[in-house]
């Protein structure tokens, strides 16, 4: 310690310290005076005001729930709105024996135990003076029954509430989604202040993704009540701010066309407006009626939906995983051209099967006897498997992986819906990590025709098709056009201008081959070329659901419906100036050309010809 103490220092220090003690004491007195001033203000000046408030707790603060925003399609047709309905509500504070009251109500109105449980759960997280619904959407009979005995049920009343309504029911259920009662897990993650008084929250679909915008801001009212706790006067209130109305890019009429065209099949149709990325059709069949979910679906009805073999609750367009089958071929062919692995003119002889060197296994073509000598355009037009086995073998899995990745295979499309699946784009690296196995050459071959590990979702396939039609300019799909209250404003979102660098001569080769698929007499989807004054570019696909033994014969009529091949079709139109891209997947539909392509044809026709009328 190099410190030298002098007497002068010590005295100086003491003096300084005493000064500080005095300063601190003055500060303490000042701050305490501040507290006293505030106490005087509360207890003398404000006493009368606060005494009134405290008396019998006569002031209640009640939340004013905002009206949920309405969801419209691109032309202003209502997809989700709020309708007036009557609900039976209880205020626990005003009920002497709640259990007894609930029992009597249960007997009177035939309420299920489930509903009572639901009510109890909701009640426990509300203040005792908050009115909480027991029954939502009461029918006339229930209202009449209760009206007669109402005097015997203090604290129970019929209230008019707004209930979410979905006019298109199962048609748009997988896009719009639905709202349901807030559960305990949601209670923890939602901003509590904003949800006091709110009973419902978006569970899936747009209702879920855009919950914040749709919900609005909760207001409140300070209500003066009398001894019986009846409201007599509103002292002060802040009105709620209603939620935003949302305009989707979806065209509900087009959606209906696609949905109806799927007919008896399960499947999905996704159509994208290429210039913007706006999703025109997002159909998943079967759908389900979301309306019962709003008022609390009965357990057995829910079980029935859950266990249904057709899985109506399953969002096929967003989460369905399918092998792309031959629809992947245009992308593989483009990869071949871009990597200079093959030239478009190169001729390959197809004997109906392909063999790897020194392996006896026959990789078969769908066409027994083969296609003969084919170049790239013919291989795409006729969907020659052998050509693509050979090309895949030349490219190798890792080059295919890196090229397909650019088009969004194996990645979420980025659409504004939650729960999207990523699909699966295999690579050597992936197989080592996932299965701890090395990659086999045979797996490269079947990846080349869209089988094997490769899995895509319909939205992914539609995005890849749109990007191809856009000549490599990446299209990112989205559903919500804007959240303003005018329907004719332009979409706010602009597709990001990420580019895949592709030589235009290469892409033109692929597109003209895809035009041949529809407009060439040998094309696999030539059936949809009739009566149209524009050209469609497309590619059919047939995806195997199960493997057929090496020498067995696939006969559609022999096998169980559920094991039949999936039919796929991707396309865009008009081919020279693409406006719409579409991906169709028909589960167990058989051939892409005969089942999936006509669905796309109908949607394209309605979109292009309908648009001309506008």
């Amino acid at each position: 310690m190099s410190r030298i103490y002098t007497v002068k220092n010590k005295l100086e220090e003491s003096r300084l310290f005493i000064n500080r003690i005095i300063a601190a004491f003055i500060l303490i007195l000042l701050l305490t005076s501040g507290l006293i001033v505030r106490l005087v203000y509360l207890q003398i000046v404000g006493h009368e005001h606060y005494a009134t408030l405290a008396k019998d707790n006569s002031i209640k603060i009640e939340p004013l729930v905002p009206t949920r925003g309405i969801i419209y399609d691109r032309r202003g047709k209502v997809l989700a709105d709020n309708t007036q309905s009557f609900s039976l509500e209880l205020i626990p504070e005003q009920i002497k024996d709640l259990d007894d009251t609930l029992q009597r109500l249960q007997k009177l109105l035939n309420i299920s135990d489930e509903k009572i449980d639901q009510y109890q759960k909701q009640r426990k997280r509300q203040k005792r003076f908050t009115s909480t619904p027991l029954l939502i959407s009461m029918n006339d009979e229930e209202i009449a029954k209760f009206a007669v005995v109402r005097p015997y049920f203090p604290g129970v009343d019929i209230q008019a509430r707004l209930v979410r309504h979905y006019p298109y029911a199962d048609l748009a259920s997988h896009v719009v989604g639905y709202v349901g009662r807030i559960n305990e897990a949601e209670m923890k993650s939602l901003p509590i202040a904003e949800y006091r008084g709110s009973t419902h929250v978006g569970k899936i679909g747009i209702e879920n993704t855009y919950e914040t915008e749709l919900h609005g801001k909760t207001g409140y009212a300070e209500i003066e009540t009398n001894v019986q706790a009846r409201a007599i006067n509103t002292v002060n209130s802040v009105p709620p701010i209603p939620g935003d109305n949302l305009y989707l890019t979806l065209d509900i009429d087009l959606q209906k066309t696609a949905f109806d065209a799927l007919d008896k099949y399960n499947g999905a149709v996704v159509a994208i407006e290429i210039k913007t990325g706006g999703v025109l059709v997002f159909a998943s069949r079967p759908g389900f009626d979301p309306n019962p979910f709003v008022i609390g679906i009965a357990n057995d009805a829910y079980q029935a939906l859950q266990s249904s073999e057709n899985q109506p609750l399953y969002n096929r367009a967003l989460r369905g995983l399918y092998p792309p089958g031959s629809t992947v071929k245009p992308f593989i062919a483009l990869a071949g051209l871009e990597f200079n692995a093959i030239s478009a003119e190169h001729q390959l002889f197809c004997p109906g099967y392909y063999q790897l060197p020194n392996v006896s296994h026959h990789y078969r073509d769908w066409k027994k006897g083969g296609h003969g000598s084919v170049n790239m355009t013919e291989a795409i037009t006729e969907s020659c498997d052998v050509y693509f086995y050979s090309l895949a073998s030349t490219l190798g899995i890792d080059r295919m992986h890196s090229f397909l990745q650019h088009f969004g295979f194996g990645e979420k499309s980025g659409i504004d819906l939650s729960g999207e699946k990523t699909g699966l784009l295999p690579s050597k690296e992936w197989k080592r990590q996932q299965h701890n196995q090395s990659w086999y050459p045979g797996e490269t071959l079947i990846t080349g025709i869209g089988q094997g590990y490769l899995q895509v979702t319909p939205i992914q396939l539609a995005k890849a098709t749109a990007t191809l039609a856009n000549k490599g300019k990446i299209v990112t799909p989205f559903l919500v056009k804007n959240s303003v209250n005018t329907e004719d404003s332009e979409p706010e979102k602009v597709t990001p201008t990420d580019n895949i660098t592709i030589k235009s001569e290469n892409i033109n080769t692929i597109i003209s081959a895809m035009i041949n698929v529809i407009h060439d007499p040998h094309g696999t989807a030539k059936g949809i070329s009739k009566n149209i004054n524009y050209q469609i570019a497309g590619k059919t696909g047939t995806a195997q659901v199960f493997n057929i033994k090496q020498d067995a014969k696939y006969n559609e009529n022999d096998i169980d419906f559920k094991l039949r091949d999936h039919a796929l079709f991707i396309s865009f139109a008009p081919a020279d100036d693409p406006k719409i891209a579409i991906a169709v997947i028909v589960e167990n539909g058989g051939h892409g050309g005969s089942v999936a392509a006509p669905i796309a044809g109908q949607v394209i026709k309605q979109y292009l010809e309908g648009n001309n009328e506008n």
């Binding site: 220090e13 310290f17 601190a24 007195l29 207890q43 005494a51």
Partner: protein, 376 residues
């Protein structure tokens, strides 16, 4: 204060006086603390729905805390000085340990499970931080130079950030102000004080970054209670109703209607002042504030009489921090400060803060009763 000084100098050597000197107890401070403790039991009985168990548990804690205070009063202040750095470092290590392997209490990592009992290192830091800063500054000539100021600031910021990270904003605030108080009493120039105040203003966004969502909610609620009148703002609104309805004379003991009917949340802990104000009115509040002021005055007096720099700085900082405690709690209950988790000292239900507070008073008594030589 003059009379007190005199009684100090001409202490009558009565038998009781001799015993108390042996016990190293400062009588005025002791009486003040006992009064507050009794007052606490009275109000806890009312706020805790007249539950005798609540009272017994609190009495046991207070008894234990008084024992600790007496024990610490026996320790020579030189020992506190000697072990300051060691205790401080140990406290910091415990804080880091809590952050790493801490048990979850109320969703925040504050506790360290020592097997027999659970220990909250941030409580210990409330005392060891001023000890450390006082020890460091006392090693150098006062007022502190910029280099010492820098080192002292680091010594304060480390525990403050560690506690804020837990997250326990109330305790972090108390630790920071206990350290800052040492600097103030050490004679930090007014210019520096102004500069630091300005700097802290600039630090607000950084602090905001460290806050958890619930802490941000509280600050936002304070700035605009109407933003969430049914949630966070509800505490403040109900608390104001309780206090205001008490009026000048109050509703009388056990007369609180707001806490009875569960309208006032946390009525036994952080918001107990509202119950007190409702039952005893403005007069009661003035009485309670006077009692607090008397205790603080006595502590400042003890600091002014201390004989070495370390003792002075530590004693005055403990006294001032006690005031900060009172001010922050009452300020938040009456709605002039944001809601941070600071209990009303010696009155709120709950053990940890009482033990730390009385340990601080023990140190003050030790400083006052271990003088090496008489003044003059």
């Amino acid at each position: 204060m003059k009379t007190e000084t005199r009684s100090e100098q001409f202490h009558p050597p009565s038998v009781l006086g001799k015993i108390l000197i042996r016990l190293h107890i400062d009588i005025p401070l002791f009486i003040g603390l006992i009064l507050i403790a009794l007052l606490s039991f009275t109000i806890l009985y009312s706020a805790g729905s007249q539950d005798i168990d609540v009272l017994m548990r609190q009495a046991a804690r207070v008894g234990l805390a008084f024992l600790l205070m007496t024990a610490l009063a026996h320790v020579d202040p030189y020992q506190f000085k000697r072990y300051s750095a060691l205790l401080f470092s140990f406290g910091i290590l415990l804080l880091i340990a809590v952050l790493i392997l801490g048990q979850f209490g109320k969703g925040a990592q504050r506790w360290l499970d020592l097997g027999i009992f659970r220990f909250q290192p941030s409580e210990m830091i409330k005392i060891t931080t001023p000890m450390m800063v006082a020890w460091y500054l006392a090693e150098h000539a006062l007022p502190p130079k910029s280099k010492q100021l820098l080192v002292a600031s680091i010594l304060i910021i480390i525990p403050t950030l560690l506690i804020a990270k837990q997250p326990d904003l109330g305790t972090a605030l108390l630790v920071a102000s206990s350290g800052a108080a040492v600097l103030f009493f050490a004679g930090l120039s007014w210019r520096f004080i102004l500069a630091i105040t300005a700097m802290l203003g600039g630090m607000t966004p950084v602090l905001w970054h460290f806050m958890r969502p619930y802490q941000r909610d509280r600050v936002l609620t304070f700035l605009n209670p109407e933003a969430d009148p049914l949630g966070r703002g509800y505490h403040i609104i109900q608390s104001k109703i309780a206090i205001g309805s008490g009026g000048i004379y109050g509703k009388g003991w056990l007369g609180s209607t707001q806490s009875e009917l569960d309208f006032l949340p946390e009525s036994s802990t952080d918001f107990i002042f509202a119950v007190f104000a409702e039952e005893f009115g403005l007069f009661g509040c003035l009485g309670l504030l006077t009692l607090y002021l008397l205790i603080i005055s006595r502590c400042l007096f003890i600091a002014s009489q201390a004989q070495d720099t370390y003792s002075r700085l530590l004693a005055s900082s403990l006294a001032f921090t006690f005031f900060v405690y009172v001010f922050v709690n009452i300020g938040m209950v009456i709605g002039v400060l944001p809601v941070v988790g600071v209990p009303l000292p010696l009155v709120s239900y709950g053990g940890t803060s009482i033990v730390t507070l009385l340990a601080g008073f023990g140190i003050l008594m030790s400083i006052h009763t271990h003088k090496k030589f008489l003044p003059h």
